[in-house]
């Protein structure tokens, strides 16, 4: 079916043409990151308090296999030195230029492993146009992976022992998608499909790195499963702006007040 040329695309093409004309006329051109360079963003989230003990989850299915693991709630993971893990940090600005090196080197598969009766990793991001969600069952029992991304095809697949499948997300999401297992209801994971690679999930020690961002003003979004958008006194709606310089850009240690992770 022929698509009529949408007004948005018409405007976009005109803008490119205008930019070319502007450059020729030595008028201020649109910022081109290739001219200015690429920078990394690093940072660390610190849970400023004593975290509660992680609740033991009810493991009442496939007990012979899963009962031997100490399966605990993963919704608030704080490392021994206070690092807050599983914080999503991702670029919110639209139409960001993507570093060609990243495009060339991106991993085709992003692995979600069913192992020891949980999903590993608990949180991840995926560049949906370039990467596939590679789901594997490393457990000795059949597993199920079920998720319903908004406006995208729902998935509810049985993965036999030793089985695997690949899934292509069809669109980006505003919020991370919750992944569940219908056989083992305690299992959960989050995956955030985006239309760019500029996203990270903080590690066990709270640190994160987003490499090779385009230099310039960018807006970032921060999300954590306990609260959703990580709304803080400095970050309204969990958003912050930063001017990325070529080289390293350090957000520093961000202290997270435990109260910020509790719904009022």
């Amino acid at each position: 079916m022929k698509r009529r040329l949408s007004r948005r695309r018409f405007v976009a093409r005109t803008a490119v043409a205008a930019g070319a004309v502007a450059a020729g006329l030595h008028l201020p051109a649109m910022v081109s990151a290739a001219a200015e360079g690429w920078g990394d963003l690093t940072g660390r989230f610190l849970y400023d308090g004593t975290p509660p003990e992680r609740r033991k989850l009810t493991v009442d299915k496939d007990i012979e296999c899963c009962g031997k693991f100490d399966i605990r709630d993963e919704s608030l993971m704080v490392g021994p030195d206070g690092g807050l893990a599983n914080v999503f940090v991702y670029v919110r600005s639209r139409g960001v230029e993507i570093c060609p090196e990243l495009e060339a080197s991106v991993e085709k598969d992003v692995l979600l492993d069913n192992r020891d009766c949980i999903f590993i990793p608990h949180c991840m991001t995926i560049w949906y146009e370039k990467q596939q969600y590679y789901v594997v069952n490393s457990d000795p029992v059949a597993q199920n992976v079920a998720f319903t991304p908004l406006g995208d095809v729902p998935v509810n697949k049985i993965i036999p022992v030793g089985g695997e499948f690949r899934h292509q997300f069809g669109r980006k999401q505003t919020l991370p998608v919750k992944v569940a297992c219908n056989y083992h209801p305690w299992e959960s994971a989050y995956v955030l499909p985006l239309d760019h690679p500029y996203a990270a999930v903080s590690a066990a020690d709270g640190t994160f790195t987003i490499p090779k961002l385009p230099a310039g003003d960018l807006e970032f979004q921060v999300w954590h499963e306990k609260i959703g958008y990580l709304d803080t006194p400095q970050w309204t709606g969990g958003r912050f702006e930063m001017t990325i310089q070529p080289g390293t850009n350090d957000l520093g240690t961000v202290k997270i007040d435990p109260a910020w992770l509790v719904e009022s």
């Binding site: 919704s75 319903t148 095809v153 509810n156 049985i158 022992v161 958003r239």
Partner: protein, 382 residues
């Protein structure tokens, strides 16, 4: 004016004064799952404006370009209940559907809260009983025949009645209107996501049109994911003797208990819907399953569930795996109906797909699915 006519005049004036014509109904905004103050009036307006422009109102539907819906059928379904001088009905949706499915197709009509299961909320674009599998091209949208089947047969074990007595054209109008409500609903959900979750202030009409095209396209392509019944039936084992049937049932039961299909985990060791997924869990708490519409109301703790569920119109309602001994199947009890349930799964529920989806192999081959069908049907206790 004569005395009689004066009296008549006063009486009719009094009657008409009391006869206030009500406002035409509007579609209800889909703000479920949010606290009322989470969405500003400006945001509501930003979402409502393009929807009204593109889809019209419950009385006067509109069809965006390229969506492939028949406006004449929509007009027959929409609007107040009326008929023309020849008796051709209009307002068919309002006449037959609104009491349960609501004016917006959100499954919260006045009768809904008394019903178990709740009437379908079409706005998610998810339909449980389809002959199509979920692929990225179609997202598991039903084909025309799936909706026709539901309307003509109703859904046994639910309050969805048969509308077989309606004319073909009326049924066609209702199918078209359900599609319309679904495309509109999914578009709205995306707009809510852009405006409320992603915080976009302005919605460009082209963005909205892209979303409309996206969701309408799944309906147009739905047949691409069809599990063709004739093709499926070709794989059915020959059942000419009682021994052959018994053998098929035995094979089916073995598959039912096999580790790869795991039907027993929800449907129980004997198909009575009492699998460990649906029964009591080890700590004595009821282990409950939910469909997607109700899963949205569920939190990690009972306290959280209470808070979340309060943001929705209808209380949370659990889902029970089917008890085959009742021989009552909501999607129909014909062999092919049960075949489809196993092959494509039941969208929006924990029931997974076991059959092939395009090029992706399933855990069960068609012959095996037929054996399981025979086992399931053999459980009937009249």
């Amino acid at each position: 004016m004569g005395r009689v006519s004066r009296v008549l005049f006063v009486c009719s004036a009094a009657l008409l004064a009391g006869c206030s014509f009500s406002e035409p109904p509007e579609f209800r905004s889909n703000t479920e799952g949010f606290e009322p103050d989470e969405i500003t009036p400006a945001q509501r307006e930003e979402i409502a404006f393009p929807l009204k422009k593109l889809f019209g109102t419950p009385d006067e539907p509109a069809v965006p370009d390229g969506v492939g819906l028949d406006l004449a059928l929509l007009q027959m379904a929409a609007g107040p209940i009326r008929s023309d001088i020849e008796g051709n009905p209009s307002g068919v949706y309002r006449q037959h559907c609104v009491a349960c499915h609501g004016i917006s197709g959100d499954g919260t009509g006045p009768c809904a809260e008394m019903l178990n299961p709740y009437p379908r909320d079409f706005r998610r674009g998810v339909f449980k009983y389809t002959s199509t599998y979920a692929s990225s091209a179609t997202q598991g949208k039903p084909v025309w025949e799936d909706l026709d089947r539901i309307l003509r047969r109703g859904m046994p074990g639910t309050s969805m009645p048969s509308f077989e007595t309606l004319s073909d054209r009326e049924i066609g109008a209702l199918i078209e209107y359900v599609k319309y409500l679904s495309v509109r609903g999914q578009t709205e959900a995306q707009l809510v996501d852009y405006v409320v979750r992603a915080g976009q202030r302005r919605l460009e009409m082209d963005l909205v049109l892209d979303e409309v095209d996206f969701f309408a396209g799944h309906w147009t392509r739905a047949a691409k994911s069809l599990v063709d019944p004739a093709e499926a039936e070709r794989h059915a084992p020959a059942i000419d003797t009682a021994e052959q049937l018994a053998a098929s049932i035995d094979r089916g039961y073995e598959l039912y208990l096999s580790e790869n299909a795991r039907c027993y985990t929800c449907h129980g060791p004997n198909g009575e819907g009492d699998g460990e997924q649906a029964g009591l869990s080890a700590d004595g708490e009821p282990s409950v399953l939910y469909d997607d519409w109700n899963k949205a109301k569920k939190g990690a703790t009972p306290e959280e569930t209470r808070k979340r569920a309060a943001r929705f119109r209808l209380p949370i309602q659990p889902l029970r795996p089917r008890d085959f001994t009742t021989a009552t199947f909501r999607g129909g009890g014909e062999p092919i109906d049960i075949y489809w349930r196993i092959h494509v799964g039941i969208q929006g529920t924990p029931m997974p797909a076991s059959g092939t989806a395009g090029t992706t192999p399933g855990v069960l081959a068609p012959e095996q699915i037929w054996d399981v069908v025979n086992y399931v049907r053999s459980r009937a206790r009249w």
